[in-house]
């Protein structure tokens, strides 16, 4: 049960609010590998509060092992709060840079695709175009499958970030919990 990894499950996005202390990323990542869970993507950055960082982690597991993951994460001293985003209840985005072969006739076709997807062209050479794309993961996948025909030279993605919809933030819930 607790060792189920990858495949077979569903994608879950969780936000983990952590103290910005040395080693905290290692603690979180290490917990996943020690307990036999795979991370699909992980993004870390500062938050609106100094001293707190926010990790967005995408995991491919069933509901039961997910519960075990969040319980184990909660035991890390530097973890303040964990939110699991129900599908549709959060805005989820990813940033991608992709360098595509585009010379001759291909150049115009790639630029046309860029326009349709409303993505920016951020670098141009004689033989390549580099596109900067932001969006939901499925939009980026759709874009990539079209660009694949031209030849992708290099690809870099940030991993997903997410914010819950609605007027409350993760930290307000933390403060409310602290005042209980």
């Amino acid at each position: 049960m607790s060792n189920a990894t990858g495949g077979g499950g569903t994608l879950h996005t969780i936000s983990v609010l952590v103290e910005d202390k040395p080693g905290v990323l290692t603690r979180v990542a290490g917990l996943f590998s020690a307990r036999g869970f795979n991370i699909d993507s992980l993004a870390v950055g500062p938050t609106e509060s100094s001293g707190l960082s926010r990790m967005t982690i995408v995991i491919n597991v069933d509901t039961k092992p997910l519960e075990q993951i969040t319980k184990q994460l909660n035991k890390l001293i530097n973890v303040i709060k964990i939110l699991e985003h129900e599908p549709g209840s959060a805005v989820e985005r990813e940033l991608m840079l992709v360098k595509v072969r585009a010379s001759g006739d291909d150049r115009a076709r790639v630029m046309e695709i860029a326009e349709v997807f409303r993505v920016n062209i951020v670098d141009v050479t004689a033989s390549t175009l580099t596109l900067e794309a932001t969006g939901k993961p499925d939009k980026l996948e759709a874009l990539l499958s079209l660009l694949d025909d031209f030849g992708i030279v290099e690809l870099s993605r940030t991993g997903r970030i997410a914010l819950g919809r609605g007027d409350r933030g993760i930290k307000e819930r933390v403060l409310r919990a602290a005042n209980d």
């Binding site: 103290e19 909660n74 035991k75």
Partner: protein, 583 residues
């Protein structure tokens, strides 16, 4: 007041009430040792190996309930602490490990005796700290002790670079602890308690499945109340021996791979299983899918991650066992009063008594036959008082000790359960004796285990910490030998140690201890009496026991608890339909 980081550390440890540190100094930790010369309320016990220091801190913590402290230098000093730290994590033992580190300017440069000990111990500590500012030492110590001793206890490591220890800072003791991400739930939810009691009231075959958390929570009195009020039978896991007195008629003893038939089968046949401070370890459950198949489970634990981890639960209760068990007992008492008394479960209790009568632990000691290890444990118990603290390593001797010792009090049984650390007994016994100097401490050890940490007998002699080690010497790594006999067609490989090497009596004497030997059953009592009469030095008894003896009952790894094997002939009571238990 201006102090060095090292002095701030000592002051902070004194503030935490630390009375003893088990340690070994080295280059990076030397600044800590200098102020000890000027006097401190803390006694430093110089061990002979850092692993010994770590297990001694564990033994101290097991025996007292207080936080044990061990200390080592950077690099190999810290890595030698890895095994005791992992052991403390698995068995939820509150210890604080302090390590020196190379100076901050050279951290990451592969400096002499550098190891990334916070990185290494991240997965085996409850939490760890690398302190880079001497002004943070006091609050780090305070947080470390708080984390180690509260919630589910565990090991915490503090790594201190040498320049931080030497730098000057201003001493102040923090008024508050600031750990926003650490708030263990200790109070059990009363609605869940009511749900649990309803299940218990309706149960026909209830069992209290008691784990080490009950001892950690000092909840033995509350457990006794709950068991007595509800007339509920109790099994005590390897980690919980002594949480409930073996002399109580409701005590069924140890379940699990080498548990007795009644304890194992009571759980298997139970309809309501009340799991208290226990984690459904594979050594208890056997094949998980076949474990307690008829039982609705109530699970009380202070660690929410344990609840539902291995077994689905009908009534989860997160909280400290002391609080929750007291609430369960009070609620059960009240409801039973309303209902006109304890439900009649005489058939169940009668069945348990019948099993106990028919399937006790057994062995065969012939007066002129080879000495049996079980006989040694039984005679040690018969000649010792109830207040003796018993410590074991890992293997056959550990199982014999748990099976044949009769425990009457909590914190009188210390062993390595989860990690199964050979070599645990000698240093842990030493630590226990430091924590409980008024009590007799008896390590029951194997010859394989003993050789892994015997060097701490030197510490015992020089620091005047007398305890007894009874080696059940069969000349083998006995438990591995047993598995090779049973599961590898008697193809013995890499298990023969030789009972004569070393000569344990001479080795004891070389360390300044007293050595005795018993080869035959007739010599056992006299040797034990002689050993018990020595009070100023440690004693080693070399019991030359039958290498062919095996631990039974046994549930083979991965098998169902229903397939318990009672003796070497493979007899299983359920193989005879006329003996089939109820259900």
């Amino acid at each position: 007041m201006k102090v060095t980081g090292a002095l701030a550390l000592l002051r902070a440890l004194e503030h935490e009430g630390v009375e003893v540190i088990f340690g070994i100094p080295g280059g990076a930790s030397m600044p800590i040792y200098d102020p000890l010369v000027d006097g401190s309320s803390i006694r430093h016990i110089l061990c002979r190996h850092e692993q010994g220091a770590g297990h001694a801190a564990e033994g101290y913590a097991w025996a007292t309930g207080r936080v044990g402290v061990c200390m080592a230098t950077s690099g190999p000093g810290g890595t030698n602490l890895v095994t005791p730290i992992a052991d403390a994590k698995m068995d939820s033992v509150p210890i604080v490990a302090i390590t020196g580190q190379v100076p901050t300017p050279v951290v990451g440069n592969d400096a002499f005796q550098e190891a990334d000990i916070t990185g290494i111990t991240m997965p085996i500590t409850k939490h760890n700290f690398l302190v880079k500012d001497p002004a943070l030492i006091a609050e780090t110590v305070r947080e470390a002790f708080h984390i180690a001793s509260t919630g589910r206890p565990g090991p915490v490591l503090i790594d201190l670079p040498k320049d931080v220890l030497l730098a000057e800072t201003t001493w102040s003791w923090p008024e508050r602890i600031n750990l926003p991400g650490y708030k263990p739930t200790t109070k059990g939810n009363q609605r869940q308690v009511v749900e649990a009691v309803k299940l218990i009231m309706a149960a026909e075959r209830p069992v209290l499945y008691v784990g080490g958390g009950v001892i950690k929570a000092d909840a033995h009195a509350e457990l006794a109340k709950l068991a007595t009020v509800g007339r509920l039978p109790v099994v005590t896991t390897l980690m919980a021996r002594g949480a409930f007195p073996d002399s109580n008629e409701l005590c069924l003893g140890m379940p699990g791979m080498h548990g007795n038939y009644t304890a194992v089968t009571a759980i298997q046949k139970s309809d309501v299983l009340v799991a208290l401070g226990t984690r459904f370890d594979d050594r208890v459950t056997g094949k998980l899918a076949a474990f307690a198949p008829y039982a609705k489970v109530i699970h009380v634990d202070i660690d929410p991650a344990e609840i539902g981890k291995n077994r689905a639960v009908e009534v989860p209760i997160v909280g400290d066992c002391k609080d929750v068990i007291a609430k369960l007992a009070a609620e059960l008492d009240a409801r039973q009063h309303e209902a006109g008394g304890v439900p009649d479960r005489s058939a169940w209790l009668g069945q348990l008594t019948d099993w106990q009568r028919r399937f006790p632990y057994r062995y065969d000691q012939q007066p002129d036959g080879p000495l049996k290890p079980q006989y040694c444990v039984e005679r040690l118990r018969a000649l010792a008082d109830d207040d003796t603290i018993v410590v074991a390593g890992v293997g056959q001797h550990q199982m014999y000790a748990s099976q044949y010792w009769r425990f009457e009090h909590p914190r009188h049984w210390i062993n390595s359960g989860g990690l199964g650390t050979m070599g645990f007994a000698v240093p842990a016994a030493m630590g226990a004796k430091v924590g409980q100097p008024g009590k007799r401490v008896l390590a029951i050890d194997g010859d394989g285990c003993f050789q892994m940490t015997a060097q701490e007998l030197a510490t015992s002699t020089t620091e005047k910490i007398p305890f007894i080690t009874a080696i059940l010497n069969n000349g083998y790594l006995g438990m591995v030998r047993q598995w090779q006999e049973l599961f590898f067609a008697e193809r013995y490989s890499g298990v023969y140690l030789d009972p004569d090497v070393p000569d344990y009596v001479k080795l004891a004497e070389a360390y300044g201890a007293v050595g005795f030997r018993a080869d035959d059953p007739g010599e056992v009592d006299a040797v034990i009496e002689k050993a018990f009469s020595v009070e100023d030095r440690s004693v080693v008894i070399d019991f030359r026991v039958d290498p062919r003896e095996m631990v039974f009952p046994m549930v083979p790894a991965g098998a169902s608890n229903d397939d318990i094997i009672l003796d070497p002939e493979g007899a299983s009571p359920t193989s005879d339909p006329s003996e089939a238990p109820i259900l």
